[in-house]
Symmetry: D2
Subunit: 245 residues, 4 copies
């Protein structure tokens, strides 16, 4: 029986998270306490965009997978079910920040977010059916890396719990999910090819998520320079929001 | 709020079941007590074929559906999970009947069975996302029609419970499922167009299932005429089976 | 090199065509000269329905096929291109028969037609990539069987060429196509498994097309009994049409 | 009728090409004459990877597109046919450079290349059916930007025509293609939403291609540092190649 080298995955992950976080001006602004409500809201709206697809591409693995244990197919559908509708939490948080967002589906994902979505469908639809576990492996454990940032964010922006429900809800659930993912990797990963495929998806999907952070900040700067775009309302409403507060 | 006319569905269903059952020589042989073990095994192997796809096309609805309530997406994934691996029960029953079936995946579905599978993917992949409920509506309640037949079959062939696990397991679970389907139809069916789409899929998928019964019997007759085919082993082993019993 | 037994395919085909044509009351009415304009128009509207999908499922083979010769992929795209838009001819003929059909896309395919469409996507999307050649094999040569019927139809209904453009156009093109299909089968069919898959799709798709003929006549009889439905306009307008002629 | 602002697309394109080319150390090495045969071969093997998918995702647009003019569907299939098998040219060039590449399909695309492939399927499978024209718009005209680089490359590495067949063949064909794409954009782009979608895909797909250039160079540097990987053979064989030359 193949024994999965989780410590290799862990150390790889540490390195990429470091690269992702240190390369992100959005993250730097959180750590420095200079982050703003509109910047955070913009990030949450992009989170809304890709979260909308997560349950769907997760289930897609089960739809097309043949030659995998029923246990894995079953996991895909169970996990898909648990993720269904989570995007609404992201949206609720944005609304609790003071932005009504009357027509969220009219908003378009930024290019980096759309690229991440495209990649997740691709690795779910073809290739090694278990490779998507590489995405879940880091995503379900991201709270180890994100929690300190949430703490800083909360302090910097004086946020209430109901404005952070997406992260708070996930932090709780994901510990259980992370254990399930690890167990699923242990039982589905049969050789070094499987391990390579999982590792590869882990790395690429995390880097693409890092690119979302970069795009979010670039879009925010564009807004601040007055160049408009679909998120212009975040600055306009932020003004009125402050006045109204 | 649109009120679903379930009594219309019920009476439609009664009529089509009647048409399906009275048009099937396989069913007639069960009622007359002339059914044989190889004929029943052949039917169960075709059941194995389409059951392999049921969880997958059920989940496909959730994967591609947008603009439906999360509740429905969630139902699709939950139901898909519950159906995962059910084909193994059909196969186990065939084995318990005395046929080892060493390579079940080398067997090909009969044309009518493949057509049913194709249709279920098609109505899951496109069209009104809730239309597949029309299939579930009759499938989850088929035990009302099938139970008397199972009784006759059991008597005619002196079958034990472990040779009928597929039907026995479903009879129990499906009562609960049938109630869920009805509730889901009530809450997702918003107008007469939705109702029409559900009704249409109900009718077509039941008639295509009826065609499976016809093909199963025709294939069995082909075997009895010594024309061979992939199921020839059912007659050969049936002989040795009797001797060995 | 594997040598394809085309005479086997031909004789199989003869048998199934015979079965299909003799089992169809629509065909009988053509032969007997009792066919009516509304019945023929109803058939052409169903032809419109499945023809809309033919280019698309043909191209789908090329999209998903890997491990096939480029020559075959190229053939799929070329053939798809040639079929694009052919449904418009079917519709034009119906209009030339005196039925304006203002919103053709609001019409729904009859169950048998939808089943045929579903099956063609299924065999194009999965399984042996060359199996769809079994459909093309009979479809491109159907004029051998259909031409005498077109002749009878024309005579019975005093049809002009512009009311039969779909069949007249295909009769010309399809001779060339039939030769291409044969050549493609010869070069792609590498063993008896390939041959079996092609043969199977040939048989099943022709029988499902036969079922379309059955459904067309049943729907027509429903109309004549005054039971309405989406095609009711064919009888209403047929009346006014005659008056206007 | 909507008039497409091609000069806007052109100037956008100029800016992104500039960004892409100036941000690529691979391009810099070509301009400086320090590029090596293994580096160029590595690039061509990645070109092989995504080119394998181009005809297929192009045809996919035609398969799923409804509500577009037949002319556009027809264009998709025609263009797909013309692109079929082009990856073989890229592979032939690598072989002509002295690398036999016995099992090209065992090679895996680099993450940036896989991301580009995933994105192209995504924008072909869903969203505005005409948006993929934004990719064709720059891809078919890339020779304006690439030809000077090919010139430098040829000089730096003393390449023969048969080692550059991929680029030489495309340079000829693509002028015609570029005109077709422009005409297709003019006739399919009906409003500013369509224009936005085309523009967006143009920008994102070119930037993702730029990322391929970055990854290619990073992978090459990894090789030079002796860190191995699937492309290690390029350095090993390059040695023997020089000796043998």
């Amino acid at each position: 029986m193949y024994s999965v080298d989780f410590s290799y995955l862990d150390s790889k992950l540490d390195g990429i998270w470091d690269e992702v976080l240190s390369g992100s001006r959005f993250i730097q602004s959180i750590r420095a306490g200079t982050v703003t409500i509109p910047l955070f809201a913009l990030y949450m709206l992009e989170t809304y965009q890709y979260t909308k697809h997560n349950a769907r591409n997760q289930a897609l693995v089960g739809v097309r997978a043949t030659g995998v244990p029923h246990k894995y197919t079953s996991y895909c559908f169970k996990h898909a079910r648990e993720e269904t509708g989570h995007e609404d939490m992201a949206l609720k948080d944005v609304r609790a920040l003071g932005f009504p967002v009357p027509a969220p589906d009219a908003l378009r994902a930024l290019p980096a977010t759309e690229t991440l979505i495209a990649y997740l469908y691709w690795i779910s639809f073809q290739g090694n059916p278990i490779q998507r576990l590489g995405y879940s492996f880091w995503a379900e454990r991201s709270y180890e890396y994100i929690n300190p940032l949430i703490h800083d964010l909360r302090k910097a922006l004086s946020l209430q719990e109901k404005q952070l429900s997406f992260f708070i809800a996930h932090a709780g659930v994901d510990e259980k999910h992370a254990a399930e993912v690890k167990e699923m990797i242990s039982s589905c990963c049969k050789d070094s090819d499987d391990f390579y495929d999982i590792c590869r998806v882990m790395e690429t999907s995390l880097r693409l998520t890092g690119q979302v952070l970069v795009d979010v900040h670039a879009e925010y700067e564009r807004l601040c320079r007055g160049e408009g775009g679909q998120y212009a309302f975040l600055l306009e409403q932020a003004g009125s929001r402050t006045v109204g507060a």
